[in-house]
Structure formats: structure tokens, C-alpha cells
Symmetry: C2
Subunit: 205 residues, 2 copies
DNA sequence: AGAAAATACGAGTATTTGCTCGTGTTTGTC
DNA sequence: GACAAACACGAGCAAATACTCGTATTTTCT
């Protein structure tokens, strides 16, 4: 098995160019229909060069997914504060949503990897990693907010919330900028509506 | 432009065989990776025969989508009753959800057409038709339940509810049968949580 | 029966696509 | 400056795939 060559500065730049290009092409035509030759062309590079750095199309997608994961994590760490746990739910949800929408608007390829329905089997892995990173984050927050909630219920709630988010993300980013806030509001309502009962369990009637 | 030939009984059967086969293959590998040759083989028919009845892969998907639309409509007309409008929201939502899940379980190809992320451009049309049929139905119900709701808010709510549904549908059908009810319950909670505020507008604080 | 239309076949085609490989250039190290 | 490693090229391959077409069979109609 061939070892990873020791990358030099030029190579690092190329790899970034290539993931950038992949993001553009994925965003334009989706992962499945994106061709490696088109990605190479978009990067201003020959097909051969692409394969000098990535074993295959999938590895390229993995690298891109990993980049998004890191970016998301950074955005959240910047936007999150443990004090947020004490905010009213709608405001907290808003603060969770915004950075993710921002990351998505800044990286059009994100959606193609995060919430595309039928990707080749193997890509399920990086996609799952992305989704799971988000879900884990959400679970943390819910856990901090409702400490008495059993772990399994918390994880289920986090998974559902993430799916709702992913579903509406597409609508939000493909909407006209003027309508975007409207859809974000709806997403907020949906999440708040779903999560509120967790905070006020079993009310007497 | 060639005219549609007058189909004879044999041809009608073939067309059904072919859409059946398409459903199977779509369910197995998704629309994008489904090959027309594989569909023909699954139908026990040569590739040429497939193209005697469908101009291309897309037309086949359209026919399948149309079939699902009709099936869904029938299921709903059977399950719906105007009296349902007076039921408590959770129960009504449950009655809306169940038949759709049923149709989905009975027709594994449904999901591939209904909630797949990156389909070829033209297939957006039949897919949209399916989604819109569902959304329209939901809008009707909401309208009947909350007559005072402005039309645009009603349509927005219907669209969001449909997206939430589509998002969790995948989880529901791919879950182990034992877990299915659990996820259906969550879907119910999500929809009820989102829709409830519409029924009790602007509460005094 | 006989003609026309519909159905059926399946090897073959034109194109696409992920990826390779032989060859040449640039970069880093001593 | 010399040597090796990394980088770059791009024509082209092997495989896949949507679709065709010449031919043969079956059904329908008169």
C-alpha cells in the first residue's frame, strides 16, 4: 500500500483549491451528477492532479464534509455560551439556528452533503458524521437545559430536531433572500413547538 | 412527433410490470443509480420493450409518481372525514399520518421519488407534483380547522408540515418495525407542536 | 385470410465518467 | 548543483449506461 506523500506548500494549496471546486460543483449539480473532470476543471487543474491528492471522488467528498464539520463546530463554539441555557427557548433556538444557516449560505455545497437523499452507499459515512456532529451538539444543549430528561429521550429529541432542521434548511437557502427570515421564523416555530413540551413535562389538566 | 399507439391489453400489463419493476429498483438503489436495463430485467423484459412504452427513464418515473399520487389520494379519501376537523389535534394528525406511512411501507419506491434530495432537473416536475398534492391536502385540512387563518399563513404552515413529514418519513420506514411506532409518535409530536399555536392565536400574556 | 398495427427482442451505439499512466516540471535538501 | 520527492499534465482506457434499430412475433381489424 502506497504511503501518503509528505505534502509541500503547493500541494496543500491544491488540496484546498480542489475542495473549494468540489463545493462549487456539488452545489451546482449535486454530488451524484458531479464529475471529477468538472471539479478538476473548476479548480483549474488536470484530472490527473486531482487524483494525486484524492484517491477518488468519495475521498474528496469526505474531505469537504470534514471541513464543513470543523467550520460548523467553530461557528457554534463562537455562538454558544453556557448562559444560553437560561434563555427562553425561542431565543436559544434562534441562536442555534442562525450560525448554521450562515455556514450554509457561505458554503453552498453544504446542503448537497448534509441533506441529500440518495448518495452512494459509502458516502453515507461522512454524511452521517456531519449529521451526527450536529445531533450530538443539539443533544448536549437539550441535556443542559433539561437535566432530568432521560438520555434516550434526549437523544431522540435531538435526532428529530436535527432532521427538522435539515428539512427546512433546503427551503431556507434556496428561498429568495427576502423570504429567508420568514422561513427561519417557521423553522424556529417548528423546533420550539417540538421542544417545548420537553421542558414542561406532564402538565396537570 | 410520433403519436401514442393505441395500447392493447398486453401493452397495459407491460406498462404496469415496468412501473412495478421501476419501484423495486428505485427503492433498492435510488433513482439516480437505477439503470433502465436493470429495470427492464427486473420486469423480465428487454430494454427495447421498455422504450416502446416510455420515452425515457424520466417518463417512467413520472408514471410511477402519478400512480403514487393516485394511491395517496385514495388512501386519504378513505381515511378522511370532515368530522375529523373537530377531533383534538393530536388525533387528527395521527389519522393524517398513518395512511401516508402505510402507502409508503406498501410502496418502497415512494420515498425515492418523494423525498430524495438530488434528482435530475426534469424529475423535479413529477416530484413537485407529488409533494404539492400532499401539501394541498394538508392546507385543506388546516383551512377547515382554522377558518380564520389567512391563506398565506395556511399555505406556509402546510408546506412546513409537509417538509417535516417528509424528513421523518425516511427515518420511520427505514427503522426496525419495532421502533416504528416510536418514531411515528415523535413525528406526531413535532407536527402537533408546530400546528397547535395556529389554533390558539395570539394568547394574552 | 390478410394486412396493419402493436408488441418484443437484444446486440449494438454513442456518450459519459471515474480514473490511470507515461512523461515532464517544480520544490526541497544536502 | 545534484538528486529525489512531490507536483502536474492530459490523452486515453475500461466500464457503465441511456437509448436505438433492424427484425421477428402476436394481436386486432376488416
Amino acid at each position: 500500500m502506497p504511503e501518503e506523500p509528505r505534502r509541500q506548500a503547493r500541494g496543500q494549496r491544491r488540496m484546498e483549491q480542489l475542495t473549494d471546486a468540489a463545493a462549487v460543483v456539488f452545489a451546482e449539480v449535486g454530488y451524484a451528477k458531479a464529475t471529477t473532470n468538472a471539479i478538476a476543471k473548476q479548480a483549474g487543474v488536470s484530472p490527473g492532479t486531482l487524483y494525486q491528492f484524492f484517491a477518488n471522488k468519495e475521498a474528496l467528498a469526505e474531505a469537504l464534509a470534514e471541513r464543513y464539520r470543523a467550520e460548523l463546530k467553530a461557528a457554534h463554539e463562537q455562538a454558544f455560551d453556557l448562559s444560553m441555557v437560561k434563555l427562553p427557548l425561542p431565543e436559544m433556538v434562534d441562536r442555534m439556528i442562525r450560525p448554521m444557516v450562515e455556514v450554509n449560505l457561505a458554503n453552498p455545497g453544504f446542503k448537497a452533503l448534509f441533506s441529500s437523499g440518495d448518495l452512494p452507499d459509502r458516502l453515507t459515512a461522512p454524511t452521517r458524521a456531519l449529521q451526527q456532529a450536529v445531533t450530538g451538539r443539539v443533544a448536549e444543549i437539550i441535556g443542559a437545559r433539561v437535566p432530568d430528561l432521560p438520555a434516550d429521550q434526549r437523544d431522540t429529541a435531538a435526532a428529530v430536531a436535527t432532521q427538522i432542521f435539515a428539512a427546512l434548511l433546503g427551503t431556507i437557502v434556496s428561498a429568495a433572500p427576502a423570504d429567508r427570515d420568514r422561513w427561519i421564523t417557521e423553522l424556529n416555530r417548528a423546533l420550539v413547538g417540538y421542544l417545548t413540551p420537553l421542558e414542561t413535562p406532564a402538565h396537570p389538566h
